[in-house]
């Protein structure tokens, strides 16, 4: 058992790292059109809408980030087994994991685009070069933040799980947080700015994503720039809260009732969030819905 003040300090630090990692993760996945928005980017050329949007569909974000973070953590673990220098090990592990992420991103873009040859969608080499490097940079921040918080949990808070397993668990959580929180902002709003706000995606507008920017043609860097402001921050807040509350309840209540105290507080936190979510949903429906009339969407 670690000292409570020390434990809360580490908890705050991991929460901060998680917030940064979450924000970077969402921006990365939006630049790569990963997760929720991917199907529309994939569909667009089939509906006749050629685009210059980057499309790296490696997997859903939770399994993909599960791999990147578990890999970063596994490599860091291996380096630490040889030379006890955690900072260097985590940095090197994250760098190597990011290289794997970058290679996967390039093969995903090339594969998807080549399979759409029938519809005339070209491969843009400049998109491949400029977008991949930007996603790698964001992914590095996300992986480094997550592996570092895993090392804090393992090393400072004396969690019994080895670093690679913590990397897997928190990597999947990171991907899930970014996928659930940040992605709808890109997939429902940014991709469909040409539709009425809040109208969802009518079938007739499927694949008709926004392909032209304020000046010139839109690429995925514009999407990353746009979603970093709200979607990224919301994802960061989400992942940061998950990590912080998880560790907070463990540090403070693990001694009560033979460890059941932490479980009870965990259930209470879930209940409180459920009530807040329900309140927000009802409030939003009262203020913004239902739609008064159904209009034909134009493409």
């Amino acid at each position: 058992m670690v000292d409570i003040v020390f434990g809360i300090g580490i908890t705050a630090l991991t929460g901060a790292l998680a917030t940064i990692a979450g924000a970077a993760e969402d921006t990365e996945s939006n630049i790569g059109s990963q997760g929720d928005p991917n199907s529309q980017v994939q569909l667009a050329p089939q509906m006749g809408f050629m685009h210059r949007i980057f499309n790296k569909a490696v997997a859903g974000e939770p399994p993909a980030y599960g791999l990147w973070c578990a890999l970063g953590a596994g490599l860091a673990w291996a380096f630490m087994a040889m030379y006890p220098n955690p900072v260097l090990a985590i940095v090197l592990g994250s760098v190597l994991a990011v290289i794997v992420q970058g290679v996967y991103a390039t093969t995903a873009y090339l594969g998807r685009t080549a399979s759409l040859a029938k519809f005339g969608q070209p491969v843009y080499v400049d998109i491949l070069k400029s977008m991949t490097t930007v996603t790698m940079a964001h992914a590095f921040i996300a992986i480094f933040g997550t592996v570092a918080l895993c090392q804090l949990i393992n090393g400072a808070l004396e969690h019994p799980f080895p670093l690679p397993l913590l990397g897997l668990i928190w990597g999947v959580t990171l991907g899930a947080a970014g996928s659930a929180t940040g992605n709808p902002y890109y997939g429902k709003e940014r991709q469909y700015q040409n539709q009425k706000f809040g109208a969802g995606v009518p079938i007739s507008a499927s694949g008709n994503i926004v392909r032209y920017a304020e000046a010139g043609e839109r690429n995925s860097l514009d999407n990353g720039w746009f979603t970093a402001k709200i979607g990224g921050a919301a994802s960061g807040l989400c992942f940061g809260l998950i990590v912080f509350l998880e560790l907070w309840r463990t540090i403070l209540f693990e001694k009560s009732f033979d460890g059941w105290g932490a479980v009870i507080v965990g259930i209470l936190v879930i209940l409180i969030f459920t009530i807040i979510d329900r309140y927000i949903e009802v409030w939003a429906r009262k203020n913004y819905g239902p739609y008064s009339e159904i209009k034909e969407a134009s493409s």
Partner: protein, 278 residues
């Protein structure tokens, strides 16, 4: 009632890939046994990585066969179930010493068959390829994990995976104790599903997809070889790393060549092409 949305046109038939993958993987796994025969070196650990690559090639084609039917989930889920069911068989089989790969195959086939039967008959998915595909994928998952384990530790027995090999000082630094199996699990699960997930569509080509699988396999082998520095001696790990790097560079170049062959156009800093009606 499921609808088959794509068919395999041309290329190598699945049965050939199945047999070649099965035999190749087992042969490579047993070649790592040279480590034991030649007075306990780890120099033949790289055969474990090659076993994983071959198994992945076979498995990714199985995913193509299965996902040609509308299975109702994304392609990545196929990779997860392959390795989820394979892990059980792999861990259990490691207790059987030299017979581990054979036991893994049998046990994984049983687990996969049950899962396939449950999917088709209890969940009523009624997909013709389901039972065979899930059986194959469980075997692929178990053998790939065994390949990565042999690559990282030099052997595939439970003792080898839980005890310290060469060059380390800490007792928890083992494949299972350090939970490197979690990394091997995801390396394999993503590598097996990515090729079909990335190459699906009307322009799917078998050679391009299989080349991508080999590329993903060698890429996973590179990082696994780097992790193996903590578990086997440096000479063995370096041999594995060099083999992986050579394989990766070749397959990555070939994959780009094949993508360029299949792409509609290969443009650099060009605007969106004009299409009639839009």
């Amino acid at each position: 009632m499921s609808v088959k949305v794509e068919v395999i046109e041309g290329g190598v038939p699945h049965s050939k890939i199945l047999i070649a993958g099965f035999v190749g993987t087992l042969v490579c796994l047993y070649l790592t046994y040279l480590n034991v025969l030649t007075t306990h070196t780890g120099m033949f650990a790289f055969f474990g990585g090659l076993a994983a690559v071959i198994a992945l090639i076979w498995g990714s084609h199985t995913i193509k066969v299965l996902c040609s039917y509308g299975i109702g989930t994304g392609v990545p889920s196929a990779g997860m179930i392959a390795f989820g069911s394979g892990t059980i068989a792999f861990l259990f089989a490691t207790k059987f010493g030299d017979a581990a790969p054979i036991v893994a195959v049998v046990l994984a086939a049983v687990v996969g068959f049950i899962l396939g039967w449950v999917s088709n008959n209890v969940l009523n998915m009624r997909i013709p390829a389901m039972v065979q595909a899930l059986t194959e994928m469980a075997v692929v998952g178990a053998l790939t994990l065994m390949g990565f384990a042999a690559l990282m530790t030099g052997g595939f027995t439970f003792t080898g995976l839980t005890s310290v090999s060469v060059g380390t000082t800490m007792g928890t630094n083992t494949f299972l104790g350090g939970c490197l199996i979690a990394v091997a699990f995801l390396l394999g699960a993503i590598a097996i599903q990515h090729p079909f997930n990335a190459c699906l569509g009307p322009g799917w080509k078998q050679d391009r997809m299989l080349m991508l699988t080999a590329e993903c396999g060698f890429l996973s082998m590179i990082v696994a070889a780097i992790m193996s520095y903590a578990l086997v001696d440096h000479v063995s790990a370096t041999i594995s790393l060099i083999v992986a790097l050579v394989g990766w560079v070749y397959t990555y170049k070939e994959y780009i060549v094949l993508s360029r062959r299949d792409a509609a156009a290969w443009l650099d800093s060009k605007p969106i092409p004009e299409v009639e009606g839009h």
